[in-house]
């Protein structure tokens, strides 16, 4: 029961579809789209895809179990959070794949460092100066390597040698963001206020909700779709979401967050129209949260979480991963969901399949410091 293995076997056909090694570009021109939605603040994977079949789950999760039981049944073991209504439909049509117990190579619990690792693709914080999405552009055909960040500035994941743009209309981020920037300028020469303000902004960016997180989800999704759709559209996009750091009052807050994400995904699909069938969306966070609820109705910084692959190109309709179990001895450091799937390997496999690239070559470019990843087949249809 505890040792549930979902991988391998079921999708053996995928192996035949891998591109031959050594081919630089899969296609002269790709019409494929890739979107990375980052969940800043450490999203609670155990609430998003809840392992209700695990005998230890109810004991760890207390009142949260009500939500888990109210959600869509994904299989005999997992349910999806009830706020993810549209996502559940994607799952039903095979366009959503959830991979559980994933983690980046980062094993400490700082948002700042964890997001740096998640975005740079390094094995530790601040080791690389550019982001893996920027390096991905180097693998795509000339003229197709077009990427955009749906945010006021270019995030770490997209920074690097390749030119990328960022776009956020003034209506999208609340006017507060603009005011915050101006206040930052105003405090810059004040020896007392400047460091306090920089601290506050760093925290806010890492864990807060600069883009309006949940509530502006649909608008953000529709905007991203407009930027990506059609022959002239961008091929790669990065979308910010914040507000996942649910140390307290998690049930209400997480439901709002997930409703926003759900609307974002639905709007993206609607807006992309026919391009949705060629789209791969990755949703991932810097790390997960504690297995047990804390004293304030929330969860604290943890380790493994859940990653989502969505889109018309995804071989979905299942929960993948190597379930480590939630029994005390199975937990990482006696407190967190133990990572069993390397997020970097998942990304390299998914993008390799999506763009028809060799896995080793993809991994070497995106995650140059990591080991050659284990093949995980059948994630995305060629």
């Amino acid at each position: 029961m505890i040792d549930r293995r979902f991988f391998l076997g079921s999708a053996a056909a995928g192996a035949a579809l891998l591109a031959a090694p050594g081919i630089a570009f899969a296609r002269a021109a790709t019409d494929r789209r890739f979107v990375f939605i980052i969940q800043r603040g450490a999203a609670d994977g155990l609430s998003i895809v809840a392992p209700v079949g695990d005998p230890a789950f109810a004991g760890l999760r207390g009142a949260f179990v009500e939500d888990a039981q109210a959600g869509a049944k994904l299989d005999s073991f997992f349910t999806l959070h009830p706020a993810l209504v549209e996502t559940a439909k994607l799952y039903g049509t095979g366009e959503a794949l959830f991979v559980h117990a994933v983690a980046s190579p980062y094993r400490d619990r700082s948002h700042f460092d964890g997001q740096n690792v998640l975005e740079t693709g390094a094995t530790g914080a601040y080791r690389l100066k550019d982001g893996w999405m920027n390096r991905l552009l180097g693998l795509l055909p000339q003229g197709e390597a077009r990427a955009i960040a749906v945010s006021p500035t270019v995030p770490m994941a997209l920074r690097g040698a390749r030119d990328v743009t960022s776009y956020a209309p003034s209506a999208l981020p609340t006017p507060t963001d603009d005011l915050l920037a101006r206040v930052g300028d105003l405090y810059a020469s004040d020896p007392q206020l400047a460091p306090l303000w920089n601290d506050a902004m760093a925290t806010r960016k890492l864990t807060g909700d600069l883009t309006g997180g949940g509530t502006n989800g649909a608008a953000t999704g529709a905007l991203a779709a407009r930027l990506l759709a059609g022959a002239e559209g961008e091929r790669v996009a990065f979308i910010e979401t914040g507000g996942w750091d649910t140390h307290s009052g998690q049930r209400g807050r997480l439901a709002t967050q997930l409703k926003g994400l759900d609307s974002l995904l639905a709007a993206l699909k609607t807006g992309l129209g026919p391009d949705w069938s060629n789209t791969l969306v990755l949703v991932a966070t810097e790390f997960g949260r504690t297995a047990a609820i804390n004293g304030t109705g929330g969860t604290d910084h943890g380790t493994a979480s859940v990653a989502m692959l969505l889109g018309g190109a995804v071989e979905g309709g299942r929960v993948a991963g190597d379930w480590p179990g939630l029994a005390p001895a199975a937990l990482y450091q006696n407190r967190d969901l133990r990572p069993t799937t390397d997020l970097d390997a998942l990304i390299a496999n998914a993008l390799g399949q999506h763009y028809g690239l060799d896995l080793g070559r993809t991994a070497a470019a995106l995650f140059p410091e990591g080991k050659r990843p284990v093949p995980i087949e059948g994630l995305v249809r060629a």
Binding site: P175, L193, G252
Partner: protein, 500 residues
């Protein structure tokens, strides 16, 4: 920072655009010491003590009745069970929405009128008093004295997280502090220690001498009525002498014995109330209940007090007020509030000496502050507390009146809920307690909200009136703002406006 700015902001509560700037700063401040109205219209409109205390007495009677139905159990006067009342649940509600349910659970089974009291009445009283305090601060012609009222209310802090205190907290400020802010410290002290809010907050109202008539009666029935040291200790530690100034635990206990019998009228009805000589028609008044007083002489700080009745503790308070330790304690706190977080020792010395010389005459100390060069030092501005900043911001945009709920919500969000410091020590008066990263962001958010609601205010025209010596950086930021409201928010959030 020029003299006018210091007069308006460090001494006062911030400039109002509809008032002319003072030509002679020191004369303007001195004049306020002669023109302060302790009971302006806003304060006079606040709920009365009798109204608040009668409802509290009703509540105590009802919850006792409900309790007696379940088990016969005696409790000291006014020690009512404490469900979390509605006024205190704002934060929890904002977080998870479970507070309502918790309150409902606790209220289940209580009489309808009790539920109404906890849900609404007590909160209404609290908010009405907050509105009165704010309105008085917004339109006062004597902002320096209003600041001193707030200073003393924080020195003699009660905290509205205790049920009996919520409705009465504001009245301590209105009834005990405002009338004595320009008087002698001893009179201020006595008024505070005899106020029901303080007597209830620090558990004095239920403190009984073991050998008092009531104590003996209880003992005969196999129950123990206790001495409560809370008020005695805090008077010595916080209100007068200051911590670690030489008094001992034995002094605290002796003082607590002297204070027995100092209680609040009308909160206990029926036989016990009658035994205490309570007058239900005078609920909330100070009452010396001889039946609770520990008989005998007391020795405190080496001095013997053989007075009887209420005079005994009054004599102790008189001596405490006259102590050099008290002079230094008060001098230090005033110097910290007006000059710098680290009070200049020379200023403290001068204030302490003036205190002793004048017999604790407070205007003497205030005049000394007006004349002290340390207070006019532009190089050591004070970081505004959330209350200071909010009042200054509202005055700057011309607000004259505000709903209690609005200011209560604002102050809770900024981390300084009104009359709710959580401890009898009150709120800190140093920058380190208020100038944090998150606190700064909250102020900027509040600035934006205040600015958005201020209507058509042109910050370029307003700035010279409320910040006479604005920096070039701030003035540029205002000029470059994308809208008047944003410019106004930048003005309120500017480094100069965060300080006084």
């Amino acid at each position: 920072m020029d003299a006018q700015t210091i007069a308006l902001n460090r001494f006062g509560l911030g400039a109002r655009p509809d008032e002319a700037a003072p030509a002679d700063s020191k004369a303007w401040l001195r004049a306020q010491l002669g023109g302060f109205d302790p009971r302006p219209a806003a304060i006079a409109a606040a709920p009365t003590r009798k109204e608040i205390a009668t409802q509290l007495a009703d509540y105590i009677e009802e919850t006792r009745g409900a309790k007696a139905g379940r088990q016969a159990q005696a409790q000291p006067a006014a020690a009512a069970p404490q469900p979390r009342p509605a006024a205190m649940t704002d934060m929890a509600e904002a977080r998870g929405g479970t507070a309502d349910k918790m309150l409902n659970d606790r209220l289940a089974g209580l009489p309808q009128s009790t539920q109404q009291y906890l849900r609404k009445d007590i909160r209404d009283h609290y908010l009405a008093c907050i509105a009165a305090r704010t309105d008085a601060a917004l339109v006062t012609p004597a902002p320096f004295v209003e600041r001193l009222v707030h200073f003393w209310a924080n020195h003699f802090a009660v905290s509205a997280d205790k049920l009996q205190v919520i409705g009465l907290a504001g009245l301590l400020e209105f009834e005990a502090i405002r009338p004595h802010v320009l008087g002698r410290f001893e009179d201020l002290l006595l008024a505070v220690e005899q106020h029901p809010a303080m007597l209830l907050y620090l558990d004095q109202a239920q403190s009984a001498g073991p050998d008092s008539r009531l104590g003996a009666l209880a003992a005969a029935r196999g129950r123990k009525l206790g001495l409560n040291e809370n008020l005695a200790r805090e008077i010595m530690e916080l209100h007068t002498l200051g911590v670690r100034t030489g008094y001992t635990q034995a002094d605290v206990v002796e003082f607590a014995r002297a204070l027995t019998g100092w209680t609040v009228d009308g909160l206990r009805r029926g036989a016990v109330g009658r035994a205490l000589g309570f007058d239900d028609g005078d609920a909330g008044a100070f009452r010396f209940a001889e039946a609770m007083h520990q008989p005998g002489a007391r020795t405190i700080l080496g001095k013997s007090y053989d007075q009887t009745g209420v005079e005994q503790a009054k004599a102790v308070l008189h001596d405490l007020a006259g102590s050099p330790a008290t002079a230094r304690h008060i001098a230090t706190k005033l110097a910290r509030h007006f000059a710098a977080d680290d009070p200049p020792p020379a200023l403290v010395d001068r204030l302490a000496a003036a205190y002793l010389r004048s017999g604790g005459d407070l205007p003497t100390l205030y005049r000394l502050l007006i004349d002290a060069p340390e207070v006019w030092n532009p190089a050591s501005p004070k970081f505004r507390t959330p209350w200071d900043w909010s009042v200054a911001a509202l005055r700057a945009v011309g607000t004259k009146q505000l709903q209690g709920q609005a200011i209560a919500g604002l102050m809770t969000q900024l981390g300084q809920p009104v009359w709710r410091p959580g401890s009898p020590a009150g709120y800190d008066d140093i920058e380190a307690s208020w100038a944090g990263p998150d606190a700064l962001v909250r102020r900027v958010e509040a600035a934006q909200r205040i600015a958005n609601r201020a209507g058509l205010v042109d910050p370029r025209a307003l700035a010279p009136k409320v910040l006479p010596d604005m920096s070039r950086a701030t003035s540029l930021a205002l000029a470059r703002a994308e809208s008047p409201a944003q410019g106004l928010a930048l003005l309120l959030a500017s480094p100069e406006f965060l300080r006084r």
